[in-house]
């Protein structure tokens, strides 16, 4: 078990920069997820840690010691690939045993035909077999040891790949989108299993995914990457509750956050579609802002319903998607506002609309995220504890 440190790791392919000086400390036993859209450099970073790719600058440290000069297998890391990369010509046993065979037997003991003469092999193999069986039992694949990878289902292959990683008892597990090739149901199941495995092994996990749900559900910390840089590093809850930028806000959470154009009013508060929200913004008057409101923070309501202390937008129901337990509601905003707002509610929105299919969208200013023109979070925007009247005023201002 080990901590992994990255010191201004940079990488460029020819003239194309892929990673720009990444600094990252991963604690011993931590489950850290690198999340981001494809092409953001997260896989490259993982491959640099593994030693499969050489960084252009910077340094990787495992347990405080630089490993830049070490070959992948000398770094004591194990990797699980998206394709699982199982050796198709070997049985499951051979696949899991390979890392041990490679490290404990010399070339002579592994040569075809000649290996039959090796005394060392005869001594070491039972030991290896015992360890392989122990790992297989942990993953409940001990019945499959004699099968070939082509005879296994996706989930079983996944476990074999995990077993091959576990058998070496590595300092860190590197996982490159290991669940992407599974069907949706199995993915949910394997999420739990991976989290359990992490808890049981207590090892350092570095996990790459483009799926924010995987990042949110399994990790201790999440590093959201974009364009070769880490946008935000923090606990999953932090990324959701206090996104550092518009990009993070958009990436984390489903359906994606609603972004509305706003600006700084004369009273240094947020002005949304001509109405003032009780959010103080210490920025120059007139500066452009982006207001982010999560779909789950917006409650559709019948027009004219009391909304004390809260803000109201009016729109027309465009479409609603029934997910069983909840509805995803798409609302076209009415004048003077414009755009589409998506919200998530438990009740059928059809019961809320009036004859013209209009409804009110109620939200609390405290649930709003305020970003400046560059997309950075305005951290010192604050919502004073206001009287209910303010909400009513803004409501009448927006109401057509």
């Amino acid at each position: 078990m080990a901590k992994v440190e990255l010191r201004s790791v940079g990488k460029s392919f020819g003239d194309v920069p892929v990673l720009a000086g990444i600094d990252l400390d991963i604690a011993d036993g931590e489950f850290l997820t690198l999340v981001g859209a494809s092409g953001c450099g997260k896989s490259t970073l993982l491959r640099i840690i593994a030693g499969l790719e050489v960084q252009s600058s910077g340094s990787v440290l495992i347990d405080g010691a630089p490993v830049d000069h070490l070959r992948p297998h000398e770094r004591r890391v194990a990797m699980v690939f998206q394709s699982y990369a199982l050796y198709p010509h070997m049985r499951v046993f051979g696949n899991i045993a390979l890392p041990l065979v490679m490290s404990r037997l010399g070339l002579f003991d592994r040569l075809p035909l000649l290996r039959a003469l090796s005394l060392r092999r005869r001594r070491v193999m039972p030991e290896i077999a015992r360890e392989v069986h122990a790992v297989a039992a942990q993953l409940q694949i001990d019945a499959l040891l004699e099968r070939r990878p082509s005879q296994l289902s996706g989930g079983q292959r996944q476990r074999v790949a995990l077993g091959r990683a576990m058998v070496r008892q590595p300092a860190a597990f590197l996982m490159d989108e290991p669940l992407s090739n599974l069907d949706a149901k199995l993915r949910v199941h394997m999420r739990t299993e991976l989290a359990d495995l992490h808890a049981r092994l207590g090892a350092t996990f570095i996990y790459v995914t483009h799926d924010q749900i995987e990042a949110m559900t399994m990790s201790n910390r999440v590093a959201m990457m974009d364009n070769g840089a880490i946008l935000q590093l923090g606990r999953p809850g932090d990324l959701y509750a206090r996104p550092a930028s518009v990009k993070v806000a958009q990436f984390i959470g489903t359906p994606a956050i609603n972004l509305l154009p706003a600006r700084v009013s004369a009273q240094h508060s947020v002005e949304l579609f001509g109405a003032e929200l009780p959010i103080r913004v210490p920025r120059p008057v007139g500066a452009a802002l982006t207001l982010g409101i999560r779909p789950e923070a917006i409650t559709p309501a019948p027009l004219g319903a009391p909304a004390a202390g809260r803000h109201v937008l009016v729109g027309r129901l465009h479409r609603s998607e029934n997910l069983g337990a909840e509805y995803i509601v798409h609302v076209d905003l009415a004048q003077p506002a414009s755009g589409v707002v998506i919200c998530k509610i438990a009740a059928d929105p059809e019961s809320l609309v009036d004859g013209a299919r209009d409804l009110a969208l109620v939200f609390s200013p405290a649930a709003c995220h305020v970003f400046d023109a560059e997309g950075h979070r305005i951290a010192d925007a604050e919502v004073p504890n206001v009287a209910s009247g303010v909400g009513a005023v803004s409501m009448s201002a927006v109401h057509p």
Binding site: G51, H73, F81
Partner: protein, 308 residues
Amino acid sequence: MTAAAAVATSATLPPRNRQQLIERLAGCGFAFPAFALLLLIDIIPLAVLLYLSFTDYQLGALDTHFLGLDNFAKALADPVFRRSITNTFVYVAIVLPLAVGLGLLIAVLLHGRKRTRSFYEVVYFLPVTSTLIAMATVWQFLLHPSLGPINGMLRTVGVHEIAFLSEPAYVLPTLAAIGIWHLVGFNMVLFLAGLSAIPRDLYEAAEIDGCRGGIDRFLTITWPLLGPTTMFVIVTTSITAFKVFDTVAVMTRGGPMGSSEVLLYAIYLEGYQYFHMGYAAALTLVFLVFVLLFSILQTFVLDRRVHY
């Protein structure tokens, strides 16, 4: 009840039957051209060959006698034929491992190249595209004891000249070397295709799992995963080597002293020089049986080991 059911089925059957009949006829129609060609090109000639091998038919002869198995008995006792079989096997034994091994070696070396790869591919593939008969003449010149540049080089190094094509001990290895030269490029291309089909992921996984160098990588990943390709290459190479003819016919005519007599050349002599068509047919049948046994053996023995 049963009668009613029977009436019902008989009422519904005819259209379905007609549909089936049409489909069957259409199927036969589509299969017919291929079948006719197969019959004309393969099966009928084989049947004729089989028939001829039991007769004493000579090209142009007016009457032909049925001999039964006499031709085969004669072949077994014929020293020329027996020598030609031994020579052919020696030739295959030299060509097969070297043509396959070198093809694999060159393919593995070329697979890692990026810019120069296509250049080398063309260089190694050129012999395959050349006509062996024409090239045999070139080789004959190259290997000439007094005029050839190869012996010229040997002389400058101080080694006495070697009569590659007229010394009985050297002639088969020399012909085999030319055969290898002609085959390696083709095998290389097949191996290169096989190598490209191995996922990169596997090499990376192997590197993480502790494969240290080229030998580990080759033994753990490349060689086992090339199994199906290797099997195909071995089968095609051995059949091609078994059919050696052009170089013998052009360069040595079976000499010196029958030391380069090979199966196909013996058949050619019997059939087209001595016009013993019946006997040649019997020899051809023996040749076909050998090739067939070869392929069956390799397919059944190797097939079980290479597929995963």
